[in-house]
């Protein structure tokens, strides 16, 4: 595997290998000296066409912990806004000798264009493209699910294991969510059962072939006792102006995770959120701060998972199974 563009690029074994590698990386992060020499002399470019301080810092931390040189490139303009084109930006970075390009872009498919164009010879790592994919987010979610629900729950080492048998519920703006698309594919690949919950206006037309169930009734899904509930961020402005639902209050009543709904869940159920949260909209303070919430842990796991992805892409393509490139 030369690039990581989509969760669907990963076979079950490849995904488990990334999670296992991330576990090894996480173990090193317990040490006083966290830095590993693995990618010394390699250059990782964070090419961010869309603001995302959290994701950029996560990738930057991951690359630095592996001793890579990191260049942060915030391309304010894009060819959409008639700034520098993706092509010219990519050619510039290539001239600087990028070994890997971590790209975040508001246009779905931009990482694919970059990977297929020949504009860069480096590995392309998708850090979120439009409403399409965000594979490292899905990997860190899978890592977090595995750590809690396979490892801690059974008091075993989850290395080598997938997510077979787990029920995961993803709630919110599925239509515009790259997190949902990536998670549906990856969690299915890893053997979990996924149920999407949203008002019908936020479920894409054409969802039928996705390997998941779809429900409009959050309470009914919660009563089935899922192992994990993942709440997606609702963009207040987009939602109300777009007329996707009548008001934020109605959304919260029907699809928000609050103390009342939290109390219906089995004891072992965990709560995830990719951040940043809208407290009081899709998740109440009670839910966000409850012991079930693993939201801060997701952030820490993000660094370990991105270390693993960079490591495998830059040094160990031949370690990956199912290689196609």
């Amino acid at each position: 595997m030369k690039h990581l563009l989509s969760a669907s690029d990963l076979s079950r074994d490849e995904a488990v290998l990334i999670l296992d590698t991330a576990a090894a990386m996480a173990a090193t992060q317990e040490r006083a000296i966290k830095k590993l020499p693995t990618l010394r002399g390699r250059t990782v470019v964070n090419l961010f066409f869309e603001d995302s301080t959290r994701t950029r810092i996560s990738f930057e931390t991951a690359a630095k912990r592996l001793s890579a040189d990191v260049i942060n490139f915030s391309a304010r303009g894009s060819s959409v806004s008639k700034g520098e084109s993706l092509k010219d930006t990519a050619l510039t970075l290539q001239a600087m000798g990028a070994d890997a390009v971590v790209i975040r872009h508001q246009a779905s498919g931009a990482p694919h264009v970059l990977a297929q164009s020949g504009w860069t010879r480096g590995a392309v790592l998708n850090a979120g493209d439009g409403t399409h994919q965000h594979p490292t987010q899905a990997l860190l979610d899978a890592y977090t699910l595995r750590h809690h629900l396979v490892g801690l729950r059974a008091a075993t080492d989850p290395v080598g294991r997938d997510l077979a048998g787990l029920d995961v519920v993803i709630v919110g703006d599925i239509l515009h969510s790259r997190v949902a698309r990536s998670n549906v594919e990856l969690l299915h690949t890893l053997g979990a059962t996924v149920t999407l919950v949203a008002p019908p206006t936020l479920v894409p037309v054409g969802v039928e072939p996705w390997p998941c169930a779809v429900s409009y009734d959050f309470d009914e899904v919660l009563d089935a006792g899922p192992d994990a509930v993942m709440m997606l961020r609702i963009q207040r402005e987009r939602m109300v102006d777009g007329g996707f639902f009548p008001s934020p209050w109605e959304y919260t009543r029907n699809y928000g995770l609050d103390a009342r709904r939290l109390a219906r869940l089995p004891d072992h159920t965990i709560v995830l959120h990719p951040g940043p949260m809208n407290r009081g909209l899709e998740i109440s303070a009670d839910a966000a701060d409850s012991p079930r919430a693993v939201i801060v842990e997701q952030v820490a796991n993000g660094v370990a998972v991105r270390m693993a992805a960079l490591y495998l892409l830059l040094t160990g393509a031949d370690h990956m199974q199912g290689e196609t490139e």
Binding site: K87, A107, S108, R181, P209
Partner: protein
């Protein structure tokens, strides 16, 4: 006078015969052609076994001039048209400035005459500046030297029902037709591709079939109400085929067009995120392709129009959302129709002549194009070798742009010769410079 004797050619794919062309007309058809006085002076072309069609007529071409000569000029687009077997193209109005005055349509018409490869018939804008709000001076354009008979805001929909009603009514005075780009704008504000299973997966904003069908349904009812003729451009969905079929059974004076790419490509192509497949209306599903093929075969769809839409390289060399909508098509249209309709057995070459020449000429009120292959008729002719196969190489095309979705594909058929009013514009598959 230079005469040409086409030996052994098969008119409309029928029995081989000889056809003598001279003085801009078809002089003789049959075995006696070689023995006539004119034939002794004639240039003899061995085209035995090849198919003779009336010169192709496109109701839907973007020649980009004036304004976007970086994408295409009337001269370069005319050469592409001749190589594709066309003898007449209608140049859409969305130029810079917009073709919404007699001055601009006469300029386009004159540049077409100067180029000399095809008859260029300007299409006039329906509304001033394609703004959709008030009618352009349709009368001035109709009465100009360009004698416009097709009006369209193509690229934009005449969305306001009152404006559309007025346009349909007003055009009757000139026996003109309103050619509608059927796209409900509110349902497609951010649209990037067909809305369905592929868009859901790719995370690209959807262009729902209903946004086309709602306008087609409204417009056929408006055309019925005011007794006007309506032409539906680039019809792309199974539902639109059904609506037009219903309208025709009601006796509504509607005609419909399909593009070659909607006969051949589906939204599955978008999985590559290659903007060469970005077009408006978007590539639809396999079921839609089946439906438009069936509609074309049974006469529900009347014409094939290329929607030849050249764009400069930088407008396609980018991420999908930033790319322009549109594909070139003049030099591949006949091959794609052969592949989709003739080689599949759905249509004959006579049917091809109907949908790519006779009917578009009739809709556009072009009197000397799309005529039968008969003695005394204007010699606008296309000779095609249906057994040839070729791989599409964008850089080898005459169009000034390279945004063909058929790049690298092998297609059947090759235009061997094209005659415009008796004069060859293409011989042996190569352009013939017009005499000045």
């Amino acid at each position: 006078m230079t005469a040409y004797l086409l030996q052994g050619v098969r008119p409309l794919g029928g029995e081989p015969t000889d056809v003598l062309v001279g003085d801009g007309t078809i002089l003789v058809i049959g075995a006696t052609a070689a023995g006539t006085a004119e034939a002794t002076e004639a240039e003899r072309l061995d085209v035995s076994g090849l198919v003779l069609l009336p010169g192709l007529v496109d109701l839907h071409t973007h020649l980009r001039e004036p304004g976007r000569e970086d994408a295409e000029t009337i001269a370069s687009g005319s050469r592409a048209a001749a190589l594709g077997g066309f003898t007449c193209v209608h140049a859409m109005a969305n130029t810079l400035p917009v073709a919404d005055t007699a001055g601009v349509v006469e300029q386009v018409w004159q540049l077409g005459r100067d180029a000399g490869y095809v008859d260029v018939r300007p299409v006039g804008a329906v509304t001033a500046g394609l703004g959709g709000e008030r009618l352009a001076e349709l009368g001035a354009m109709a009465q100009s030297h360009a004698a416009v008979r097709v009006f369209s805001d193509d690229g934009k929909c005449v969305a306001d029902p009152v404006v559309m009603r007025r346009a349909l009514e007003y055009a009757k005075a000139f026996d003109a037709v309103i050619a509608q780009h059927a796209q409900e704008p509110r349902l497609t504000t951010t649209a990037q591709m067909h809305e369905g299973q592929v868009s859901a997966e790719l995370g690209l904003a959807g262009w729902p079939a209903v946004a086309e069908e709602a306008i087609v349904a409204r417009d056929v009812l408006l055309a019925e109400h005011v007794g006007s003729r309506l032409h539906v451009l680039h019809l792309s969905t199974a539902g639109s085929v059904e609506i037009v079929r219903w309208a025709k059974t009601r006796g509504i004076d509607v005609t419909a067009e399909v593009t070659p790419h909607h006969l051949y490509l589906t939204d599955e192509r978008v999985r590559s995120y290659d903007p060469v497949f970005k077009v408006n209306p978007p590539l639809r599903t396999a079921a839609d392709v089946e439906a438009v093929r069936a509609g074309l075969a049974d006469g529900t769809i009347d014409t094939v129009g290329t929607d030849h839409a050249p764009h400069p390289r930088e407008d396609k060399d980018c991420e999908w959302a930033a790319a322009a909508f549109g594909m070139t098509g003049l030099e591949t249209a006949l091959s794609v129709v052969q592949a989709a309709m003739v080689d599949t057995g759905a249509m004959t070459w006579a049917d091809v002549a109907r949908v790519m020449s006779a009917t578009p000429a009739r809709i556009g009120r072009v009197g000397d194009q799309g005529r039968p292959l008969a003695v005394g008729e204007p010699a606008n002719l296309t000779v095609v070798d249906p057994d040839a196969r070729r791989v599409v190489v964008p850089a080898d095309q005459a169009t000034a742009s390279v945004n063909t979705p058929f790049a690298g594909m092998e297609l059947p058929g090759r235009v061997v010769a094209t005659f415009l009013h008796g004069r060859p514009t293409v011989m042996d598959g190569r352009l013939v410079e017009p005499a000045t």
